[in-house]
Symmetry: C2
Subunit: 137 residues, 2 copies
């Protein structure tokens, strides 16, 4: 099991948007050319990033740009923009509630696994778009 490539593609999109902002108009076709996927994939991700207030996109004339500075955008912001926020694990839904284990399994696992998820989120929040840009040079 693996997370989809939406986070990687969204990160790539934002990096391209910032890196080339003074040289090119950042259209979905332009981004798609760097990412290597269909432009519609990029447009859908741009919509999600726009809804999360990370970029603005000029309808009609075209072109995207960041709405915050790269220091203010973390991988967690991007992750939350493109992945639906749900439990990390799918817990089986029909345990036997007449069994002492079945009765408690959901609350026990929810508590422990939510904690794991929070730890991973804190880690994602430490990584900024700026630090990734620094790695480019």
């Amino acid at each position: 099991m693996q997370f989809s490539s939406r986070l990687p593609i969204a990160v790539h999109t934002l990096l391209v948007t910032e890196f080339f902002k003074d040289q090119f108009k950042i259209t979905s076709d332009f981004i798609a050319g760097s990412v290597g996927v269909n432009p519609v994939i990029i447009r859908n991700i741009l919509i999600q990033l726009k809804n999360a207030d990370l970029i603005e996109v000029a309808a009609g004339v075209g072109g995207a740009k960041l709405k915050k500075s790269p220091e203010e955008i973390s991988l967690l912001d991007i992750f939350n923009a493109v992945e639906v926020n749900e439990k990390l694990f799918h817990i089986h839904e029909h345990p036997n509630f007449n069994c002492p284990v079945g009765k408690n399994i959901q609350s026990i696992l929810n508590k422990n696994l939510d904690n794991v998820k929070k730890t991973a989120e804190r880690e994602l929040d430490k990584i900024t778009l700026q630090s990734l840009l620094n790695n480019l040079r």
Copy 2:
């Protein structure tokens, strides 16, 4: 995107195996009755737990039991037993290597996201089967 219910079901399986070890023979049907899924699902998970040396299963006569003490089994051990170990995120495979962003995106994301995964694994490793058993009482 979500991890499958294999880890939750495997944890449930091990808890049942230990909790009822002195009262019942722990067959796949018995476990399935507590988890609320088809016994074949349990048998396949038992095979994975057996391959990871966490339990032993008596073929023919039936019955499972732990091969280590609950203190020695962590959620990470169980996770590794039932989930194929792969990258946390699927990174897009055909970036444009002629682009300074496309050329570096894979190595940058691999490095940063592997680190997030390692953090989550360390967190899973802190949680033992015994601590979950304690929560049952």
